[in-house]
């Protein structure tokens, strides 16, 4: 097995080679609790093209992680996808049975979890954890799988010998690297990083991000990076999708969205980020807290905290409007305004 380039990957049998890599349309994932139904993801749509890096930003509880877990249906037993579609190379994963879905896990989409201390099996050797999917999913012999695991460890900058140890014997940064190596084991098309650098200190953070960049270039990976840290997205991603309370607020190329944020929430997020060059001032905070998703407010979910809220905001759900490459869902930007085309979700 050599390191694959985009051209050498074998596509799944049902794949449509002309379809975009990943298209998510109107995804809805709800949790059933004793106290009610939590609408954690309520109509999220986005698209990921080959070789792209998409960042999903938003505060805790906005549904970013649930969206990612929904792609592979890694949800807990009290959650389920109640609507929408997830089309991977044209194949809709939502209606597939659990068994059929297994084919796509790790081999097409893999995921690097946050806080890799808990995400790695504490009683299994690191090298074996990486080799496991290679052996089980790719039908490779145990020794060949272990050899490949060693190669992957070297690829992410961990000496092969450390692979024989256990997760608790590695530092936080090395564990994260090991998780990345594990995510690459079956040569996936898409790697999802769920807060991959949150638990690390800044220096290590920079190294991990650089590693992801290098791997993306070398292997032609497509990335989905989930984080609440906008600086990470600014550095690593091509496009950004800002989520709030289970819905998409704004989505577009990083350069455009960060330079010219439209949605009030995006603006508030960017403003909250302290500027090291500016004069010292008090931190800007967004007042209030996210809504209870068991009983979300009608209309725009950000309205209660929005400084620009109008009457219509608490009544009608703002439609998705596209301005060039950017998509916004805000009544301040109705269709036809801003000198751009009308339309629905990005196609």
């Amino acid at each position: 097995m050599t390191v694959a380039t985009p051209h050498q990957r074998t596509l799944p049998k049902q794949a449509d080679p002309n379809a975009p890599l990943l298209v998510v349309e109107d995804l809805k994932t709800y949790f059933t609790l004793e106290s009610g139904t939590v609408k954690a993801v309520d109509g999220v749509s986005f698209r990921l093209d080959q070789g792209e890096a998409l960042g999903i930003a938003g505060e805790s509880g906005c549904g970013k992680t649930t969206t990612a877990l929904s792609l592979l249906r890694l949800l807990p037993s009290n959650a389920s996808i109640v609507g929408g579609s997830v089309k991977l190379m044209g194949i809709d994963l939502v209606p597939k049975s659990d068994n059929a879905l297994r084919r796509y896990r790790w081999r097409e989409i893999s995921i690097v979890f946050q806080g890799a201390m808990n995400a790695l099996n504490p009683v299994q050797r690191v090298r074996d954890q990486i080799a496991e999917p290679i052996e089980e999913r790719m039908g490779v012999s145990a020794s060949a799988a272990r050899k490949r695991a060693g190669e992957l460890l070297e690829l992410v900058g961990i000496p092969k010998a450390r692979g024989r140890g256990y997760p608790h014997e590695l530092s936080g940064g090395m564990r994260q690297r090991a998780m990345i190596a594990m995510a690459l084991a079956c040569d996936p098309a898409i790697v999802i990083g769920d807060e991959p650098t949150t638990a690390l200190d800044v220096m290590v953070q920079a190294q991990i991000l650089q590693l992801l960049e290098d791997l993306r270039a070398k292997l032609g990976l497509s990335l989905i990076l989930i984080t609440h840290d906008l600086s990470v997205i600014a550095e690593t991603c091509d496009r950004v999708m800002v989520m709030y309370a289970g819905r998409v607020a704004e989505e577009g190329p990083v350069s455009e969205v960060f330079a010219r944020p439209r949605h009030p929430y995006t603006r508030a997020l960017l403003a909250a980020y302290p500027n090291i060059h500016a004069d010292r001032r008090t931190l800007e905070v967004i007042p209030g807290s996210p809504p209870d998703l068991r009983d979300p407010p009608p209309g725009c979910r950000f309205a209660p905290r929005c400084t620009f809220a109008m009457d219509v905001c608490s009544v009608e759900v703002p439609p998705d409007v596209t301005f060039g490459d950017v998509r916004v869902a805000c009544h301040l930007f109705p269709a036809g305004g801003d000198g751009a085309a009308t339309g629905g979700a990005a196609s």
């Binding site: 004793e34 807990p76 037993s77 009290n78």
Partner: protein
């Protein structure tokens, strides 16, 4: 089992303190009863508690050899709903009276266990240092010891020394059993209370009290104790179940009192008389079922309490 449901800061004034506590308990009780395990468990315990309080009202005085009401080893019939034993005594009568003895011993043994365990736990956790180390060594020692065997051999020695008769209105044998269970079962309680004490100790108001100049005993009584009470209650439930099982087993192998028969004593007597071999199942199944019900009830309540006090585990049920 971790934090108590409500952290109480004494607000001064005795009446206010009591009100806060009472309100906390009432809502707690209703939350407990809302869960099916909690409701079933409490119902069973209440049933047996009522029986235990006044057994004479339900079945008349305890039958003995002299006033046995039936023929020997009769199977259940209309006159003797649970049959009779080898002395002709009505098993229903014995079982209901046995409820009183078993529950009483269980209760008293639990109290002794909790007093010793809580005392050592609070002192150990609060004072810390060398005292803590010493107490913990002893506690760990008792945790490893097979306490049942210890109870088994202390009991006859103590009985030997004290003799028979009555102490404080209870027959000596039972009194000794209570004490013996108490002094062998306190170790787990001490551990649990100690860790809770250590975490309460870290709260700010303890430092405030120390600055004012409160003495250690006062601080332990007034500040620590209210905040570990919840944990003590939760622990008490499981201790009670264990105490009943221990007493039952001790009585079964011969440390019961034939004049104040507990369920275990009835079981032991039936085994000695060869009841299983003779097919006289009613004799021992009746008290046996009662034991299982009571222990099951406490286990269910304990489980429900654990859920209530440990919200972390509530997340994914």
């Amino acid at each position: 089992m971790s934090a108590s449901p409500v952290l109480l800061e004494p607000t001064g004034g005795r009446t206010r303190r009591w009100t806060t506590r009472a309100v906390g308990w009432r809502s707690f009780l209703s939350r407990l009863l809302h869960r099916p395990e909690g409701a079933i468990g409490v119902a069973i315990i209440v049933f047996f508690a009522v029986l235990a309080l006044a057994p004479g009202i339900f079945v008349g005085p305890l039958e003995t050899v002299t006033n046995s009401s039936g023929k020997r080893l009769e199977p259940p019939s209309l006159q003797h709903l649970l049959g009779t034993d080898n002395l002709g005594r009505d098993v229903l009568n014995l079982t209901v009276h046995g409820a009183r003895i078993s529950m009483l011993i269980g209760l008293l043994a639990t109290v002794v266990t909790l007093v010793i365990g809580a005392l050592l736990g609070i002192v150990s956790g609060f004072v810390g240092g060398r005292t803590d180390t010493v107490i913990m060594r002893i506690t760990d020692f008792f945790l490893v010891l097979p306490t049942f065997v210890l109870a088994l051999i202390i009991a006859p020695i103590v009985l030997d020394i004290i003799g028979t008769g009555e102490i404080l209105g209870i027959r000596t044998t039972l009194f000794v059993i209570v004490i013996v269970i108490g002094i062998t079962s306190w170790a787990t309680t001490a551990r649990i209370i100690r860790s809770q004490t250590m975490s309460v100790k870290e709260r700010a108001f303890i430092d405030r009290a120390r600055v004012i100049g409160s003495g250690p005993w006062r601080m332990m009584r007034v500040h620590i104790l209210p905040n570990v009470t919840g944990l003590i209650v939760a622990n008490a439930v499981l201790i009670f179940a264990g105490a009943i099982l221990t007493e039952t087993t001790l009585a079964f192998i011969g440390l019961g009192d034939p004049f104040a028969p507990s369920w275990g004593q009835i079981l032991g007597a039936s085994q000695d008389a060869g009841a299983p071999g003779l097919g006289a199942w009613w004799w021992y199944v009746s008290p046996g079922v009662c034991i299982v019900l009571v222990v099951l009830a406490f286990t269910l309540i304990g489980g429900a309490l654990d859920d209530l006090l440990n919200p972390k585990a509530r997340r994914r049920r």
